[in-house]
Point group: C2
Amino acid sequence: MARIVVKFGGTSVADIDRIKDAALRIQAEAKGGNQVVAVVSAMAGVTNQMVALTDQMGALFDAREYDAIVSTGEQSNAGLMALALQTLGVQARSWLGWQIPIRTDGVHGKARITGIETEELERRLNTGEVAVVAGFQGIGPDGRITTLGRGGSDLTAVALAGALNAERCDIYTDVDGIYTSDPRVVPKARKLDHVTYDEMLEMASLGSKVLQTRSVELAMNHGVRIQVRSAFSGAPGTFVVNEDEIVEQQIVSGISDSKDDAKITLLRVADRPGVAAGIFGPLAEAAINVDMIVQNVSEDGKTDLTFTVGKSDLKAAAGLLKENQADIGYEELISDPDVVKVSVVGVGMRSHAGVAQKMFQTLADEGINIQVITTSEIKVSVLVAGKFGEQAVRALHTAYGLDVE
Amino acid sequence: MARIVVKFGGTSVADIDRIKDAALRIQAEAKGGNQVVAVVSAMAGVTNQMVALTDQMGALFDAREYDAIVSTGEQSNAGLMALALQTLGVQARSWLGWQIPIRTDGVHGKARITGIETEELERRLNTGEVAVVAGFQGIGPDGRITTLGRGGSDLTAVALAGALNAERCDIYTDVDGIYTSDPRVVPKARKLDHVTYDEMLEMASLGSKVLQTRSVELAMNHGVRIQVRSAFSGAPGTFVVNEDEIVEQQIVSGISDSKDDAKITLLRVADRPGVAAGIFGPLAEAAINVDMIVQNVSEDGKTDLTFTVGKSDLKAAAGLLKENQADIGYEELISDPDVVKVSVVGVGMRSHAGVAQKMFQTLADEGINIQVITTSEIKVSVLVAGKFGEQAVRALHTAYGLDVE
């Protein structure tokens, strides 16, 4: 008998019929002799409706009230799922964040889970009762409802799986797993059976919307085995696991592209100590995240500096840098929102040389100019002009032998 | 400086604009130097939507899940109202039932309030913060959300007013007060400035939908002064108060009619001890409420017995009585759903003779036959044929001098 956590996203519980379908999957797990914790999201669209109501209320924003409002979608869906299970003859009850309780810090709207008291939950799981848990929510030190930010129901599921030592955490969603690349861009993309936490983290941070970074980090820290799978087919999905669980590791697991970045280049910056701090300090203060940073070799005490920020931050970043032009001491600012970051990800590249070289050669053969390069232990990313993004991804997918037969 | 409770019903907070309007009324009370507790219902229709979702889930019905689901409408509205107040510069926060807490018994779906811990609420009221309380909900001994049944937000408001020793409890609704009769039936109906708890109780139990019986009982028991008033006009409404607050008491305060009853007559019932128990026992077991009961003088050891039940219970009641015909020992059952109960209500009739006689004379002058009569200390009710209902109410309204000039 295993203990498992299953999580159903908004499209998987978008209406009464889908909730009933999801209940059948939960019933099957329970009948298989498993102890089941089912984490449910709000019906797709409901949270956005609630956010829209909140926005209409005026300019002032109290995140504590926001949390009380937007958490209602998961609350009602948890109740509805418990009823659906009872109708199938499955013993079940709903749990709200404050009832378990799932304790969080006080950062309303984007709280972090600080602890889960599982005693009563486990007692009832041991009686064979399915626990239906409202995702996305907890209770803060102020005794008020907190929400965990976007992707929060995944966090709830992974955190519960960790706290309950669950055998695995199944994330039911509207895709059937993690692919070597975005199937809309690469028709020959292949579903992966396994992917490591590290690879998933790199892919998530590159814009893959299947699992949010925080959930993967949490799973990695607590050794929670995640399975990303389809709520509609029931076929096995992709396991996100520790590296040592994967017997035959591909060198490269996937090719990602992200269109969320914009490029800023500062020309002829004075190359002296403290200049980087002078540039990035004001951006950090304005909570503008800087990603890739490249500095050319200095010439005549002047250097060119290129970096990327989120597309939505481009205007603010450029404004700040112009305000501080005299202090920083650069001659010209060039910004370009029309860029794509293409990345090759794979834990195998740690032990295999030549992965980066193959990337550069492939892009050169395609006549695609590389604007910026950054590397991590398991990833090589390049920035290319927007128009070359999809071509680059497809060429690399073929070059690394990832195409489906 | 006074402490007041204001309550806004579903139509008064039906959308963002109405919530903002209601917030202006709350702001005015707060600016007037009052400590304000604002109880809010769900947006009109939202609770019914939630109930409909629950119904679609299947035949099984777990009232604990029902409560978790249907209480979400008040939860989100409390948050929205707090935001609306903050936007107006009024310090405010939302409170859910479990946060205060408002403790109830464990009868989910129709719980009774057993206690309210007001310490933290009062501490914050004393700082000038408006408390926005989600109506209709509490927390049961099982630590789960309970709801208080229909009209539950009124109960929340009155119970809080009692626990906080509030100066008054304003119930904002879509009518501007309590009338001497239903203005749709009696065009000359007059708004009352004051009405006593007892009168209001009789009127509420007669089908007046403005205030539920339980709220009035609670107000009477705790001496809470209620004002029923319009959310849309802001004019003074009707105060529901103790008898001794009313200086010049009308003998008759109002004429009500109720179309919710149906009549059952059992002909030639054996008139022996235990026969009433034999009739009403099975009905009580089936939770069928019996209202007016009249038994004629016995003749030849046989009697006729007439009583009323709710219209929706008529079929079940008649079925039960037919099943038990042999045991009870009656010859014929006649049922008639087409009846109206017309009542004259007024605390003044305690000290004034002739009130009932005037009623009977008026109806006789109109040629309306009285089928059943019952009386209480402050009420005389008669059952008449459905077609005479409105005529009877209008004639009595005039006869007792209630018509507006």
